[in-house]
Chain length 219, copies 4
DNA sequence: AATGAATGAGCCTTCATTCAT
DNA sequence: CATGAATGAAGGCTCATTCAT
């Protein structure tokens, strides 16, 4: 299981529910989203197992049993949170890299992606930190559910790095399969120790860019 | 709560029991150590809450109740695992940095510490990954118990980096309070994705040193 | 901790639920009251610690876990039983003493209280004997909960006896602080050995009045 | 189960152990008596079930397992405590009543017995209060063990009262089967509320004699 | 859509007891 | 005599989940 995450956010979680055709309510239910938000907050603070359905329900303002009208299980809630985290990060990162002017170099793209990943991470912290903190510790079934989303995002970074390597922008002795999880893991780990309300996110980004400066090939 | 941890861990107490040929009292330590090893393995794989005392006991080959002869609670087991992880890592890192020849530069020391931290991390993976994965998610009481050990290790790294900064070895715009958790967090995160049985640890170290090359001041 | 307690107990809350034809909320009270009744019976027969939640639940016809929907803990159940015992006894005793005609003497009041205390005691035996048997042996927390109720009832008897003493109805050398617990203790102890189904309660009362006849001042 | 208790003290508890012929040590072991004393203290303070073998052992200064060298079970300990309580009280009461001068009246005897019972009760409080508090709540097997001792003591009181009744010393309408448990119950209950370190035992006796003055036939 | 009530499986922990040494 | 270590049964309690209303 490698380190990478987040993106593309939730558009087909509704489809998913539709596909599975079961009773539950669809997409846009306000309650549904509220439950996800509340759950993401609790999961990221206390952990998945440590959070009870009753806690979630209480914070949403309903009874524990009522949550089951919107979700089939606690795991399904987690599953959707993780998907949202991965997809939304992916979308943000890809957008910021692709919207660069045509003359942007592979290095420019990577830098943009890096910055954007960190911004998405800390701008959506309940969802993303749930995702980051529980990587490799979620129930089998949930993992399988998010895996495709993760893979897609990983692939995007692989491509970014491959392009840069092919263009001679990276130190030639670097290997993408080692570099990608290393970079993403470093970024993701900031979720554990960096508090945007106490430190400046731009400072963090600057520090990371300085530290990682060694990856670029010397001119 | 910043990111840092681990080393050399725990073999001592086993050796200790072995060395001291004392008949009784220490013999129990065998069970004790066995429980810790087994628990560390299960915790790091499944999570603390997800691991049951019965699982631990079964793997050790005893009854669940029997574990309580050796430990007061499940939390105490976790607490000791974390302490072992942090302290052993600290010892290993400090030893490797301090045993350098006198003419070693601050940069040499940091490089040695980095390498040693990673080796300790992956050489004692059950203990260290329990520590790394659950940073910030352990029960209050346990956290308080390990906190002093964490702080000591953090301080050691702070000093290492401050010395280097004062000696002009680091980029002058880097700040230690940001750099230290960033570096340690990056290293620690490898616990989640790097598998020494599938990749080469020296390759990982080399890649990290290349990536982090940007932190040193240019000659 | 002195000796005193109990009365008229608990039928109220049932009546209350019945009276108020409210559809919901109170319907749960049926289970609640049933649990209290069953628990009181088991506690008084076997003891608090000796009684298991599973036993209570089984006799009520539910699962052990279900009891926790109605009560927070086993101790809370005990706590409510004791309160019901003490309060109901108090109410019964006070009512019977206060409803006497205006020309009733202090001695008449005490006799009425005595009789009423015994009737409450044996008319609500599960609750009251739980209270009597465990006096001074209940968990700290529970004790604190019932203490105010006990104190109130004790005070009532103190007043009864003081009035009689002041009116010259009692032997002048008797002291209320010694007399009150002695009398109430004697009455309460009947809970242990007197079985109304085998002996006649009025006979018991008559015997007690004869035995205690020494407390009144000789004409 | 009626109310009555205590006497004759322990003489054949040794015989008992001998009879049962099992491994355990006999009679006079210092440890044995120490265990009984400690256990009696803990039982009377905390209750039987609430007291653990480890607590007893710790207070005696040994390991839990070691207690089993002296006693076969926790219940056996309780059993012996109860026997000691009942027998020692019986002996004290009988002695004080029988040592009266020949011209002593039945009433004199009863008064002496009453006084002596209270003195034994509060002079041996750990044993006697264990006995008094747990009346009717001890395990079946233990109850059967003490029952003969109880019966013997009850019979002694029955005889005392019958003699007095036959001699016209008591109110003729009193019945012994009701009077005896009532008297003994009243006395025993003092165990719960009377603290000899805070009140004077002679005052208590005087108060009781005044209160109970109604039982004697009027001259 | 939501709730009150209950289920049932499982968890951590306690504790009397056993037994080889 | 005594202990260290372990057993195994049980206990209080939690919690995801269900379901009739």
């Amino acid at each position: 299981m490698s380190d990478l995450d987040i993106k593309n956010g939730g558009q087909d979680s509704a489809q998913q529910a539709a596909r599975s055709g079961r009773k539950k309510a669809q997409s846009g239910s306000v309650s549904r989203r509220l439950i996800l938000d509340v759950a993401a907050g609790l999961f990221s603070e206390q952990g998945f197992t440590e959070t009870t359905m009753r806690q979630i329900a209480a914070k949403v303002g309903m009874q524990a049993g009522s949550v089951y009208y919107h979700f089939e299980s606690k795991e399904q809630i987690l599953s959707e949170i993780l998907s949202i985290a991965v997809r939304s990060t992916y979308m943000a990162v890809r957008d910021s890299a692709e919207k660069l002017p045509p003359q942007a170099t592979p290095r420019d793209k990577i830098v943009a992606a890096l910055r954007s990943h960190l911004q998405a991470l800390h701008g959506n912290i309940h969802y993303t930190s749930t995702n980051v903190k529980f990587l490799g510790q979620v129930p089998e079934e949930v993992e399988q559910n998010v895996q495709p989303d993760r893979a897609q995002y990983e692939d995007y970074w692989n491509q970014l790095l491959h392009d840069a390597l092919a263009a001679g922008a990276l130190q030639p002795n670097l290997s993408v399969p080692m570099l990608r999880p290393l970079i993403l893991g470093s970024l993701n780990r900031t979720v554990v120790w960096f508090d945007p309300s106490r430190g400046n996110l731009d400072d963090l980004i600057a520090t990371i860019l300085t530290l990682f400066n060694g990856m670029w090939s010397r001119p």
